[in-house]
Structures are given as C-alpha cells and as structure tokens.
C-alpha cells in the first residue's frame, strides 16, 4: 500500500515538533538539509521520534538511507503502521 497524504502531513508535523523554531518549506519532496536546522544530528533525532510515534524500528541500514520524507513515509507504510 503506497503512503497516503495523511502520513505525509503527520511526518511534517513531527518535523515541526523536532525543530520547533524552524520554518518548514511546503516543497513536495523534502529531505535532510531542506532547511538550515535540519542537520544530520537533528535528522537522527527526527528518525528516533518517528520510530517512537509510529511504533516502528528502522534497521541500521535504513537509519543511514532514509533521508527524505517520501522514503520515510514508504518505510513506515511498508510496516503497516501509518494509521493513528
């Protein structure tokens, strides 16, 4: 099942939670470095927040590969955990 628009907006909301002072661009494909605050350390913390929120766990490889919201959404959806 491909990820829905709802999952994308939830991931954006988590991005705002992780970077509370950042202005998050509306661009369709957003990834690490998409705004100044989103650096590699912040990205790692963001992935941990996503894991906790959707009750999923990414592998070591995924932690290295998941750079953009599209990829992250796909990884969450592939585990069947996109629902609330």
């Amino acid at each position: 099942m491909p990820p829905g628009p709802d999952l994308d907006s939830r991931l954006r909301a988590l991005l705002q939670q992780q970077f509370p002072s950042a202005t998050i661009p509306a661009a369709t494909s957003l990834a690490v470095g998409g705004f100044p605050e989103w650096d590699s350390l912040g990205h790692y913390n963001y992935l941990l927040l996503v894991e906790e929120t959707f009750d999923v766990r990414f592998s070591m490889e995924e932690m290295a590969e998941l750079k953009g919201l599209d990829q992250i959404a796909a990884a969450v959806a592939s585990r069947g955990r996109e629902g609330p």
Binding site: Y44, E51, M63
Partner: protein, 520 residues
Amino acid sequence: MTAPAEALLWVLVLEDLLAPEGLEGLDEADLDDALSRLLAPLEARVDASTQPTVVAWTAWRPQSAIASARRPSSWSRAARRLEALLYRLAAQRPALHLLDLDAALAADGVEAAFDARNFYAAGCRFSRKGLARLAAAVEPVLQRIAAAPKKVLALDCDGVLWGDVVGEVGVGRILLGGDGLGRAHRDVQRAARRLSQAGTLLALASKNNAADVWEVFDRHPDMALTRDDIAAWRIDWTEKAANLMEMAKDLDLGLDSFVFLDDNPFEREKMRLALPQVTTLEPPADVTAWPGFIDSLDLFARFDSTPEDAAKAQQYRSRAAFADARRGATDETSFLGGLEMEAQSAALDATGLARAEQLAAKTNQYNLRNARHTAAELAALAASPNTIAFLTRLKDRYGDHGAVGLTIARIAGDVAFLDSFLMSCRVLGRHLEAWILSRLAVQLRDRGVRWLFAEFRDSGRNAVAGAVLTAHGFAPWRGADGDARRQALAGLSPIDGELYLVDLDTLIIPHLDLFNAARS
C-alpha cells in the same frame, strides 16, 4: 518555581573511556591510576569553572551473571573504583554533582534505556527512552542547585498514616501494621520518619477529633511515628488551607515551603485552589505504591544532610510546641510562668564573636539601631574598658534556644549609650527583654552610670523593638546643647534616629518573676 541552575552536563559512559579487555590482572591501585588519568580533564574543568558541573555516569555493559558469581568481575571492579573516585572528587569540590545513571535507568530497565544500533549508527549509547530518563534525572539536581528543598510535609491522618477512619472504627480497628494494607500504611509512616530524621518537618492536617488521633499515636502498637516527630498540627474541622496558614505562622515559615499529602482528591483540589503556593502532591491511586512514592520525592532531598539540619528541625519543633501551648493557655502570665525560663548572660569574648556577628547581621525585627557590627568591630568593643557587651542565652521547658540576645553599651562617666540591643525573633513574646535590661542596669549602676541613652532607628521592620523603650520607662529626649549629658553622648556615638533617655534610678522592669534562677 525557581529556574533550574545552568550547568555543564557530562555524560560519562565508562566503556567509552576504558576498554573492558586488558583489565584482568590489574589491582585496585592500577585501576585507580588509569581512572584518575581519565578523570583529570574533569577535575581541571571543575576547578577552572564557576559553573556547576553534573557528571551523569554509567558503568553498565552486557555481562554474564556467571562471571561475577564467585568474585567481582574485572569490569565490576573497575565500575566500583570509578564510583569511589568520582565521589572522592565531589567531596573536595562543592560545584561537582554526580548522577548515578544506572540507578536512574533501572526504572525502565537497561534493555529499554540502551540501544546498540544508535551507538553504531550515531555514537549515542542510549535509546530515546534512555535519553528522556537521563534528562528527567538531571532536572531535579539542577533544581536543587538553584533552590533550597521544601521544609514541611503536612500529612493527612485517616487514609494516609493508617487505613480507614479512626473516628468511626476506633483505634483497634484502623488498618495499621500487620500484613496487607496495614503494612503499607506503616511503611508510609516509616518513609515520613526518614524524611523527618533528614531534617524535614512533619505536620498533621487532619479533619478529626484531636483526641482520636492522639489516642492512635499513644496507644497503637504499630505506629512508626511518635508525637515527638510532629512539629506542628491542626486536628479539627476547620478547612485545611486555613490550618496550613496557621501552622506556617507557628513555624515562622513561608507557605511555599509546605508540601501537602492527602488521600482525598477533593481536599487536594481545595488546597490547590486556596493555596497554590503549597505543593500539593498527587499520590498514586494505590496506597501500596506510597512508601516508594515518598522515598523518591525530590522536593525534600538535599545534597548533604548535616547534624545542623536535624538540630534546626528540633528548634522548629520547640517553636511550634511553644505556639501551640500559648494558644491553649487562657492567661498569658500563667502560661509564661509555666515555661520555666532560665536566662543567662555572658560577657562577649572570643568564643561568642561568631554568634554575636550573626545576630547583628541577621536580626531585623527586635533591633533598635540595626548596627551591623562585624566580628572585628565586636572584638574591639568587647575589649574596650568603656564598654559593656554581653550575649544572653535562654532555656525553657521546650528546649535550649542558645545565644539569642546581644547587648552593647558604651560608657562615658555617668552616661551610657545603648549601642546594640537586639534579640532573635525566635524568642519574642517571653519578656526576655525585661530580663536583659535588668542585667544591663545592674552592670551600669556598678560602673557609676545613672543616665542610659537609647537610639531608635526606624527600619520599617523594627517597631517591636522601639516599643520596648517606652514600656520600660525611657522617654524621648531633646536636651539642650549645653547639657553635659549631650556632650558625653556626642563622644559615644553620632545620633541620627530618635533619642530616648532613662534615669536608671527610675527604670521600670516588670515580669522578672517569670525567670527561674536568673544568673549573670
């Protein structure tokens, strides 16, 4: 709530500093050497900094239980040496604070707190949960660096100190001691007692007949708390908020130093609304969790518990007992007469300088002139042949209050000037000022003094001290410039407040009969 202190936080993971291989065969001295070298930068940083440093340290690493079943494993030995060295450093450095992270992380379990993937992917040993636990454990330490602990735990009785309602079921039927819930209530009392022994004051705020509650204290064999553990109490049908306000007055403490524990959510809510400055606890629903809940409270915890804390608690208990007995006495004179007060004065010498300086610096209410003499100035005054300087101690049936008054008079011929006349507010309302004046008058007359000048400098807070002058026969004085007494006074002290004078031959000293075996 005070903002937490700013501090440097160092998360120390022993395994990041010390490789677990190669430890076998090292003795304690070798381990100490190796660890001391690793801790040297920390030592240097703490010594160079004015900011507090918090070291949150963990020595956890996966190990087989078998390896330490017969003797400590080499890793366990290293962990213990690290702990010993850290505490040794902290003992010499008040700015260094230690946080035993393994104890804090045990709440979730190490499996939930550590995450090897995070370590290999990002160099962080902890899981998100472990990081949250770390932050939660550091926060109260930073709070305590910035703010003093709470001083009073006000306890409800029914449903807290014991189960059930004593007024309904009677002393013999309440749930206290034995097995089950009665044992949990007894352990609640023991936890409260541990707080009391560490210097926290316990108070009772109970809607009950007082006689019923005291019967439990006096007669129930499983009470862990005794009457002596209770510093203040209000056991009646008045609102608990009003009772807490009264107890705060008895103890002379602010309501913001009170913490309130009640099993009744309604009472808790009323307290939060009426007195938001009181910390109202939200205990777990299940009483069996209460002993642990009380033991883990950060509100009362201190970095060090000193014998002075316990002594201070005893003084507060005396004070509250005094206020309580005073409420009960219908006639003030008979009440004070029953106190068995014994005052004693001692000429100021080297042994009393520190206390005298403290009294001069800290007494605001019962202080005529607010002359804040330093220890050096006091030493010079005490040594001067033209000065009378003494400390007054007071004992009564509620305890020894220690040195509570400082009196200094400067003499020139038959004129004297009251340089300092001050008393700790702990002993106000006992007519001790009368006793002190009588001692001073005797000594002045022995030195040939007839005229005693006093100056009242209004600080906005010391009206109570001003009132003592007129109550004992002093009168405002505006003597002419040519008056010989004014000449003498000018040589003793500059005057910028209101000047009073008394003829020692007509000095009125009432209430001396309240004091037992008055000695100088």
